[in-house]
Amino acid sequence: MKKMMIVLTLAAMVAFAGQAFAHSPLMSCFDNGDGTITCEGGFSDGSSASGVKMHIQDGEGTSILETKMNEDSECSFAKPASAYVVIFDSGEGHTVELNGADIVE
């Protein structure tokens, strides 16, 4: 029981420490109108998203493309033919998911 409490306390500390950094991940994507999509990422504290993993998946969650944010925290790729999802993955609790249907010009 005591061990459990310690684990819980530690877990709570980690969780709150994460909040204290106050950098939520943010991403927006646009349809460039030329068959390509551009996503821009970042954090609420202004820090760079360069190198953050990007997963582009189809409607079933199968990977279409694995890529990364470039040095300008941007990422462009060919627009998938059917339903897709874009995931900005900067670690556990720090992901943003956008449905392809919501990505417009």
């Binding site: 939520s24 927006s28 646009f30 821009e40 609420s44 760079s48 998203a49 300008d72 925290s73």
Partner: protein, 275 residues
Amino acid sequence: MKKHFIPLLAAICVLTVVSSAFAHFMVLYTPEIALDEGRDLDVRVLFSHPAEAGHMMDMGGVQEFYVVKQRGDATAKKVDLKKYLKEITWSNPHASAPAFSALIPKKEIRSMGDYVFVMKPGYYFEKEEDLYMQQITKLILNVGGIPGNWADPVGLPCEIVPLIKPYGMWVGNVFKAQVLSDGKPVAGAEVEVEYMSHMPNLNTNSMPAKSSVEYPHDAFVTQTIFSDVNGYITFGVPKAGWWGFAALGVGPEKEYKGKELGQDAVIWVKAEDMK
């Protein structure tokens, strides 16, 4: 007739003196400056006394109108916006003057980040004081919550640089900023503060006659604060809405067409109620 005429004359004199005490303010306005995502932006540029929807002045055209945008620590980009300006007439209850509208398309306001809008008008000749005025005006907007260059000087002849996100203020926050002239802090700068108590109507290009504030005394219409020895101003924000700050005569240019020139730095910020 004479008996009635003298009080009337006296009243007119008092009104004239009182109205000249109100501050001139360049207004660079769009309804929202904290946007969730990029969109077309409807903007107005006018020269008035916003706390009382008062006298309108001809700003003498627009010399410069641009935005410096930055997402996070990426390189800041400057985009000229002059091509979007259209001349309009802005009408307040008792005055109207040439002003400008601009519908800035989403392609310019698409990315997340900060957008620092700068408007440098022409010269306005103030007959009563026999001098020219020019108010270089800033408005800072954010898209999507990623900050950028909101706290960076643009490098204007004179400007007010905020130390608190000017698009993310609660009522009761303190607006702190630094007054700069040629990039250097201005100690003891006189800064006028006005509340937008007559909200601009973008459909009619006018301000309504009704005020959202009851002013108990003239000193409350235009408040005056001074910058400290390091050029910093501090102002507790008492009410939700738009607040304008004008640092008077701080710019390096002091003369235009052989007359005295007052080059002012203006910034508009918006506070929200905590609900």
